[in-house]
């Protein structure tokens, strides 16, 4: 084993990168729940979490502890092995999918090894990603079946049928992107989107020259929301009719694992939408002298955030807030200065634009949840089979035609 490590320092670097990514991902998951509750609350003219820590910032931690110490109930008729397998599968698979996402173009040195942002860079990246995410249906179906209760069974069945239907539209809708990029490698798909039309419009696949992938993106994002079982497609857990759907019989952290899996999938899907249709880490602004100051946009945003935190922290009601928020603000200010330094500034551009776009998609997820009512089940199936499938097929034909004609 030690021989293996000595011969392949690549593996050591990989382990460190995986540890850092996992830590960041889990933190992001936790704060995504906080973010969602805050945004939905403000959409509904409420304040959202406010008690646990300043602005409810400790809410994810409180939730986690609560889940951990809740009574762990396993219903009497449950098939124990499958009952435990379901949340395990859901969480581990959705945490694995993130390994394929490239976060930036830059390379950095770690123990003398040049390495890039992202765990694995596969030739068949997109295919592999779909393979992992489509296994997610097992978690839901097994959870519904193994509980030996009627509501979970109905929820699990509905969910399997739904995920299976929308997966079709999902796989078909990205064929347009594959036609334009001619590669399954996620880095190459991003690289193929470089450049600008007429000097100002980014050549991202959503605006690409022979055939803009507007239909493709609409199908992709709709199907992706359905795949992750989010509103308005959250039929598997429709509270009004199915109590909580497939995870009705789950308690304590097993229940939370389904949620963590759902939020991890949301992040993966947002990353994928960014990579496939919105140019990944590419900046939306052309590299011209008049826009050279754009490279300090991350710094400016962080500085603004830090100023707001300090200003808000001073006026905060509780003593904890008066201390924590300004300290957080100072940390952000330090970070802002750090990423303005020449070396760091170049490196940060790619990840900044990538994460900014991912954040916008996550916001849209929450926004949609706060705005739209739930579909009826027959409507849901009709949208998947009668609208998205033919639309994505039409997109394939149109895109391939546009490419052949454009070649002349």
């Amino acid at each position: 084993m030690s021989n293996l490590v000595a011969q392949h320092p690549v593996l050591v670097v990989a382990v460190i990168k995986i540890a850092v990514l996992m830590f960041l991902l889990l933190t992001a998951l936790a704060y995504l729940t906080w973010f969602e509750r805050k945004v939905v609350a403000h959409i509904q003219s409420r304040w959202g979490p406010y008690r646990a820590g300043p602005h409810g910032l400790l809410q994810p931690l409180a939730d986690g502890l609560k889940f951990l110490f809740k009574e762990d109930v396993t219903p009497s008729g449950a098939d124990r092995f499958v009952y435990y397998l379901a949340p395990f599968l859901t969480l581990s698979l959705s945490l694995t999918a993130i390994a394929l996402i490239p976060f930036g173009p830059g390379e950095f040195k770690l123990f003398g090894q040049r390495t890039s942002l992202g765990i694995a860079n596969l030739n068949i990246g997109l295919l592999f990603l779909f393979a992992i995410t489509s296994l997610g249906v097992y978690g839901v179906a097994l959870a519904g079946w193994s509980s030996n209760s009627k509501y979970p069974l109905l929820g699990g069945l509905r969910s399997s049928a739904q995920m299976v239907s929308y997966e079709l539209a999902l796989t078909m809708s990205v064929v347009g992107v594959l036609l334009l990029a001619g590669s399954f490698n996620l880095r190459e798909i991003i690289a193929a989107q470089q450049g600008f039309l007429w000097g100002w419009l980014p050549r991202w696949n959503i605006f690409a020259s022979p055939m803009p992938q507007v239909i493709g993106f609409s199908c992709f994002f709709t199907a992706a929301i359905a795949e992750t079982n989010r509103l308005p497609f959250d039929l598997p857990e429709a509270e009004g009719e199915l109590v909580a759907g497939f995870h009705t019989e789950y308690a304590s952290f097993k229940f939370a694992m389904f949620f963590m899996g759902e939020y991890a999938s949301m992040i993966t899907v947002s990353c994928l939408a960014t990579i496939l249709f919105f140019g990944g880490w590419l900046s939306p602004f052309p590299q011209i002298g008049a826009l050279a100051w754009m490279r300090y946009l991350p710094t400016a945003l962080l500085a603004a955030g830090s100023a707001w935190l300090v200003w808000d922290g001073i006026r905060y009601e509780t003593l904890l807030g008066k201390i924590v928020l300004p300290v957080l603000g100072v940390v952000l200010a330090g970070l802002a200065v750090l990423i303005a330094l020449p070396g760091a500034n170049d490196f940060i551009q790619g990840p900044f634009w990538f994460l900014a776009k991912v954040f916008i998609f996550l916001f849209i997820y929450v926004w949609v949840r706060g705005t739209l009512p739930r579909f009826r089940y027959d409507q849901l199936m009709a949208v998947g089979w009668k609208l998205l499938l033919p639309a994505s097929l039409a997109n394939i034909v149109l895109t391939s035609f546009a490419i052949v004609v454009g070649k002349r």
Binding site: L95, L153, V243, K254, W385, F401
Partner: protein, 123 residues
């Protein structure tokens, strides 16, 4: 080539193991730390407080099987589109016409399904 494989797939395998380990630890922790005070009523399947009637493992609507079957058909066809898209730029008009024929055949099956009502949930 083998070095390339190691560089790309080994980290993925490690990542998968880490993710599974993490999920396993969480699962184990919640069974150890969470308290257990089972009663007969608590362990019953949840049915909104009413005493549960019958078994949940009963035959369910055949429509779900239909959806699964149609999915298999179309998904296999969708997978054929992937390698085609990969080499499309080398195929030009030949590739376009061939795929158009393929999609037309697929479309014929799709229209047949629609007319038969396999896509209508309420039938």
């Amino acid at each position: 080539m083998s070095g390339d494989y190691l560089q790309n797939y080994a980290p993925l395998l490690i990542h998968l193991l880490v993710a599974m380990g993490l999920a396993g630890i969480i699962l184990l922790l919640s069974t150890i730390v969470g308290y257990h005070r089972p009663t007969r009523a608590k362990l019953q399947p949840y049915e909104c407080g009413v005493r549960p009637t019958g078994d949940a493992r009963e035959p369910f609507s055949v429509k779900f099987y239909l959806v699964a079957m149609v999915f298999i058909l179309f998904d296999v066809e969708a997978i054929f589109l992937y390698p085609w898209a990969y080499i499309y730029r080398d195929l030009h008009w030949f590739g376009f016409v061939e795929m158009l024929l393929y999609i037309l055949i697929l479309l014929a099956g799709y229209i047949y399904l629609w007319k038969k009502g396999a896509l209508d949930w309420n039938r």
